[in-house]
């Protein structure tokens, strides 16, 4: 598909931000997203081509305004749920649970 990800030759993106030179994970969530993605691939939950295809299907505005690892997180959610490894219900429930726990600690 000629998706938003297919950006070779597109114009108007402006100068390369060379100062954005980090190669390390900027936050723990990035590292975990990276590792969980690799391990899900290793576990055969999905393949790398499905993973790339999933990212290409991000809403274009989201694709352009989120970071590389957010794309990985999107495709992880998309594939694990669409393939029935996780259900949307248990995923949302777990997020709600963790949100409450975090709010409880903050209080």
């Amino acid at each position: 598909m000629r998706s938003i990800a297919d950006m070779g030759g597109m114009q108007g993106f402006g100068p390369v931000d060379r100062a954005d030179d980090d190669t390390r994970f900027k936050a723990e969530w990035e590292a975990k997203t990276f590792a969980v993605n690799l391990l899900s691939l290793a576990a055969g939950c999905f393949n790398i081509d499905e993973s790339r295809y999933s990212m290409e299907n991000m809403p274009p505005a989201d694709y352009l305004t989120t970071s590389y690892f957010e794309h990985w997180l999107y495709s992880l959610e998309d594939l694990l749920i669409s393939k029935g490894v996780l259900t949307e219900e248990e995923y949302r429930a777990r997020i709600a649970e963790l949100t409450e726990k975090e709010a409880g600690h903050a209080a």
Binding site: A5, D6, V16, R18, A27, W29, V36, L38, E77, Y91
Partner: protein, 202 residues
Amino acid sequence: MSHDDHTMPPSTLALRIKAIETLMVEKGKIDPGAVTEIVDIFQNKLGPRIGAGVVARAWSDPAFKARLLEDGTQALKDMGVSGLQGEAMIILENTPQVHNVIVCTLCSCYPWTVLGLPPTWYKSAPYRSRIVIEPRSVLAEFGLDISNDREVRVFDSNAEIRYMVLPERPAGTEGWSEDRLAALVTRDSMIGTGVPLAASAI
């Protein structure tokens, strides 16, 4: 999953991945120790010093350089360099006639085995979009001025073939040890957006 309502605030990124991780661990799909191990390897063990060592050896050993250019995958394997996102490697030699540079316009594929994880700019829309159509303009932003009597070759990593640039050896380094040579090799010189440090730099 419905992504119609996909406007989650940034603070939930950590919660989303934690939710996935904990569920996957509970379902026996991933080993939590493996998560830590992977992060350690990519933060601390893989990185451009590996590629720099390859370049230094190629500069020092003409027979190795010939093997490296002929069959990058095997020559690297012989050095103990192999694996994920480096299963099929091609080494691109810079010459007085040719300057090479790598990209993945479609996503951000990068030669992890020799360079580790890519810098953020490599994965950015400005780099991915512009390097194929106006490479000289992008390279000029990196401080590289490529004259018109040289050809700029852009390798788009759209399949599982991975590339690394073998930059030209700096002048005045005759007789240097491989370790000393490796110290001149910058990460950007192996992507093609830079050149090695001058001999006088170290």
